[in-house]
Symmetry: C2
Subunit: 230 residues, 2 copies
C-alpha cells in the first residue's frame, strides 16, 4: 500500500499532536482542505495505512459505550515525514468551472457572462469574510497552536493572495465585458496584458533559432507534472 500526498498530509497533522479520526477529517476539511481537498471517506482510510507501515500507532479509547480511535505518530513516521518534506511536490493545479463558461461566453448573452463573473465575486466575498474570521481567531488567545503562528501565517497569506487574484480578475473582467456592445466583436478586446507578456523576455529560455512564438502553435502546454500519488 503506497503512501499518497494525502497520507503525508495526515502524517503531518500527527506530527503536531495526536488526533481521533473524526478530528483528522475535520482538520483536513478546515485547514488543509483549501489547498488539498479530499473526500472524508478517504481520510478515514489513511491513518490505517500509516499504522500498517508503522508510521503511526492507533489507540482505542472508550467514551462511555462508544469507542474511538486516537492516532499518534511513531519515530519512524516522523522520519518518513521529514524525508517527504525534502522531496519536490506536484505543481499547483486548479479547477475553475467559471472559466469554461467565460471561455465560451460568445455562445451566450452578455448578461450570462456578467452573471458568471458576479457569482465569482460573490464567492470571493464569502471567502474574504471567512478569512477575516480566521485571522481574528488566529490572533486571539483562543488560537490552538500559537507556537505554529509563523507557519500558519505563510499558508493563510496564500489564501489571501489567491482570493485577491480571483477578485482582481473578476472585477477587471466585469468592467471589460461591460464595455462590450456585442459578444462577438474581437476589436474591443483589452489586450494590453497580452502585449506586455509578449514583450517580456524572461531568463532561462534557451533559444533554438526560431522565434519562440512559432513553437506554440502545436506545442503542448504541458506542466511537466510529476503525476501520481495524491
Amino acid at each position: 500500500m503506497r503512501l499518497t500526498t494525502t497520507s503525508y498530509a495526515i502524517l503531518g497533522l500527527l506530527t503536531v499532536k495526536e488526533w481521533t479520526t473524526y478530528e483528522l477529517a475535520q482538520q483536513m476539511e478546515k485547514s488543509i482542505g483549501t489547498y488539498w481537498p479530499r473526500a472524508k471517506s478517504k481520510i478515514y482510510e489513511e491513518p490505517k495505512k500509516l499504522v500498517s507501515q508503522n508510521l503511526a500507532r492507533a489507540r482505542r479509547e472508550k467514551a462511555g459505550a462508544r469507542a474511538r480511535t486516537v492516532y499518534s505518530v511513531t519515530p519512524k513516521g516522523r522520519r518518513a515525514f521529514q524525508t517527504w518534506l525534502q522531496e519536490p511536490g506536484a505543481p499547483p493545479q486548479l479547477e475553475f468551472e467559471a472559466l469554461i463558461k467565460v471561455f465560451f461566453a460568445e455562445q451566450g448573452m452578455k448578461e450570462d457572462l456578467l452573471a458568471t463573473l458576479e457569482r465569482v465575486d460573490a464567492w470571493v466575498q464569502m471567502r474574504r469574510r471567512l478569512g477575516a474570521e480566521i485571522a481574528r481567531y488566529l490572533l486571539s488567545d483562543r488560537a490552538e497552536f500559537p507556537q505554529r503562528l509563523h507557519i500558519i501565517a505563510l499558508t493563510s497569506r496564500w489564501q489571501l493572495e489567491f482570493t485577491r487574484a480571483v477578485e482582481h480578475w473578476a472585477r477587471w473582467a466585469r468592467d471589460e465585458v461591460e464595455r462590450w456592445k456585442t459578444m462577438d466583436d474581437p476589436s474591443v478586446a483589452d489586450t494590453r496584458h497580452l502585449e506586455a507578456q509578449a514583450k517580456a523576455v524572461l531568463g532561462g529560455e534557451h533559444g533554438d533559432g526560431r522565434e519562440s512564438s512559432e513553437r506554440v502553435g502545436k506545442a503542448s502546454l504541458d506542466q511537466h507534472n510529476p503525476k501520481k500519488g495524491s
Copy 2:
C-alpha cells in the same frame, strides 16, 4: 448517462468548430487544461455521450487506410450549451501540494522550506515563459481564432493573474523565511496581513450577537460546493 462539466467543455469546443477526438483531447490539454484538467482517456469518451443525447453528430472520415471521427454540434447541442452557460458553476478548487509542505515545515529544516519555495518560483518562471509564447502567438497572424480574441484575452488574463499571485506569495514567503533563525519561533512571524484581515469588516455579514471570531473555532470552513458533475 448524465453530462458532466467536462461534457460541456467538449460541447463548448464543438460550438466553435468541428474537431476530431484527437484534436479535442489536444485542445482540452492545451487551452482548457489549465483550469479544467482531465485525463485524455476520459476526453475520448465524452463525445460519444454527446452523440447518444443528440447534442453532437459523429462523421467517419478515412485518411488513407486509417479512419478518424469528426464530431460536430447539433442545434440541440447548441441550445443545451447556452442553457448550461446560464447555470452557476462550482467555485474554484485548488490543489497545491507545496502548501502542505509549508504548513508542516517546522518538522524539517529551513533549507527544505526554502527549496520548496524555490521550486514553486521555478514553476512560475516556466509558466511565465509559456504565457509569453502564447501571448505572442495570440497576437500574431498565425492565431487560429482571431474572432475569439476578446474572449481568450479574458481567460489568459486569469492565467497571468494566477501566476503572478503564486510568484508574489512564493517570493514574500522566501524573504520571510530567510529572516527566521529557527523553524519554531512564532514571535518572528509577519502577521501584518492577518491583522489587516482581522480589522476588515466586509459587507453581507449578518451579526448574530457574538463576536464573529468566536464562531470560527469549531466552524466548518465549508465552501458551499454545489458538488457533483465534473
